[in-house]
């Protein structure tokens, strides 16, 4: 079952990277036609720039996400116990040890990122270290490790960075579309209008992609696989309770990366019922499913 999920996650990632590539190429193409007035030149520039951007986002998306969340490396000297827990779980899971990062924040949360198990990162808040006991920490880290093993991280990270990029551009262009409408040069404003319309059409498609990637079932699966590793239900259950009932909000929390985390970093969203748009299942549902595992 997990192998099938891994394949599905890789296929979805491929789809998203291709769409992103196409999107950036088109965007740069229109922009260059606008600036240089030369189609051949525009094609070359469009392709080069989008290859560079796609390549970079694919290889550095984990670094981008870490920067966004202001994380730093958790060294063996400073966080000995945490490193031991992670190494132990990696032995049980038979995977390479991911890099370990911490966020200096008193909120309780954790996420995993990277493009494959060999280049993966687990990041937790210092608040989590202070307020969770060892069994609970093991549960949380095993959960993140399961996301890595299932290749959920690849898909989620790519989606967040690439879709985020497109949203920023489309935002900028659609603003420019209305501002530039009084421009004397009809041709220029015409092309900007075309780009704007393309973005308007594509936005719902990207929103759809986001939804497809951030499937709540991933969380259930990661919870279940975490328990397969730790052989201790109560650790994860207690940790999830503590994390969900905590009222402190992660300072760097933002909507775009919220799906990465083990519990929704936006405190308000946590209390809502399951809906089509929620990125995480409710606590009750998660605990109920954990309790049903035997």
């Amino acid at each position: 079952m997990i192998l099938r999920d891994v394949k599905k996650n890789k296929q979805k990632t491929f789809l998203i990277v291709s769409l992103f590539f196409l999107f950036i190429t088109l965007f740069i193409y229109f922009l260059s036609v606008l600036i240089f007035d030369n189609v051949a030149f525009a094609v070359i520039i469009g392709l080069t720039v989008s290859i560079l951007i796609s390549y970079n986002t694919y290889y550095y998306s984990d670094q981008i996400v870490l920067k966004l969340n202001k994380a730093r490396v958790a060294t063996k000297e400073e966080f000995a116990q945490l490193n031991h827990i992670l190494e132990g779980l990696c032995i049980a899971a038979n995977v390479p040890v991911p890099k370990l990062y911490v966020m200096d924040d008193s909120a309780l949360n954790a996420f995993a990122t990277g493009r494959n198990p060999e280049n993966a990162v687990i990041c937790i808040t210092t608040g989590l270290l202070e307020r969770l006991d060892k069994n609970e920490l093991e549960g949380v880290i095993a959960h993140e490790l399961s996301h890595i093993r299932n290749y959920d991280i690849l898909l989620q990270t790519i989606v967040i960075v690439m879709v985020g990029f497109v949203v920023i551009i489309s935002d900028a262009v659609s603003r420019g579309m209305f501002r530039g409408s009084r421009d004397d040069d009809n041709k220029v404003s015409g092309i900007i209008a075309i780009i704007g319309i393309i973005f308007l059409i594509l936005s719902p498609i990207f929103a759809e992609l986001m939804k497809l990637a951030i499937s709540r079932n991933r969380e259930y699966l990661a919870d279940a696989s975490a328990i397969e590793l730790t052989r201790n239900k109560d650790g994860l259950i207690n940790a999830l309770k503590k994390l969900t009932h905590d009222s402190e909000e992660l300072e760097q929390a933002n909507k775009s990366s919220s799906s990465l985390f083990i519990v929704n970093p936006l405190v308000k969203e946590r209390k809502k019922k399951n809906s089509l748009w929620s990125t995480h299942p409710t606590l009750d549902n998660r605990i109920e499913r954990l309790q049903n595992i035997n």
Binding site: I85, G88, L89, I91, A224, R231
Partner: protein
């Protein structure tokens, strides 16, 4: 005639796939066992330091630990038994800190405590992975048609790294 050739070819390919699968499982068992040995060695390296730090407080216990560590174990079950005893003694030495504030304040001891507790956990996880791998392997060589191939290749059931039946409960797959 052609149909016969195709059937033979298909059977041959199936045997190759089965064979590779069994070999992979076997290699995984070997690697898992090496993983346990790595962690056991790490602990053996740490124990002299622990003995050194704690012998002023609990001489007898420290000596007992040294004796157990120096015993030779031949079979896997002996090794598992020895491991269990070392774990028990290490844990009781580490627990000394509760009754001796001096020891608790000792920086070397505090470091040892983190290292040894971590290593004990890793031994447990390595054992869990090994026993899971053995379970897969043993099941794989018992089901049809693998059992025929396993018999020809002389694959034998692997031994678990566990001591008692109570231990078995802990490591059985819960999913």
């Amino acid at each position: 005639m052609e149909i016969l050739l195709i059937i033979i070819a298909v059977i041959f390919i199936l045997i190759i796939i089965l064979y590779n699968r069994l070999i992979q499982l076997k290699i995984r068992c070997n690697n898992a066992l090496a993983g346990i040995d790595n962690q056991l060695k790490r602990r053996t390296d740490l124990i002299p330091n622990l003995v050194e730090v704690t012998k002023g407080y609990a001489k007898h216990e420290a000596e007992t630990l040294v004796n157990i560590v120096n015993q030779r174990s031949h079979s896997l079950s002996e090794k598992a038994k020895q491991n269990e005893e070392i774990s028990k003694n290490v844990k009781s030495l580490l627990a000394l800190a509760e009754s001796y504030p001096d020891l608790k304040a000792d920086k070397i001891f505090a470091n040892l405590q983190i290292e040894l507790t971590g290593t004990e956990d890793k031994i447990a996880y390595a054992r869990q992975f090994y026993n899971d791998s053995v379970q897969y392997f043993n099941t794989a060589i018992m089901v049809f048609p693998n059992n025929i191939l396993a018999k020809i290749l002389k694959f034998e059931e692997r031994e678990y790294f566990k001591v008692s039946d109570e231990d078995k409960e802990n490591v059985s797959i819960k999913l």
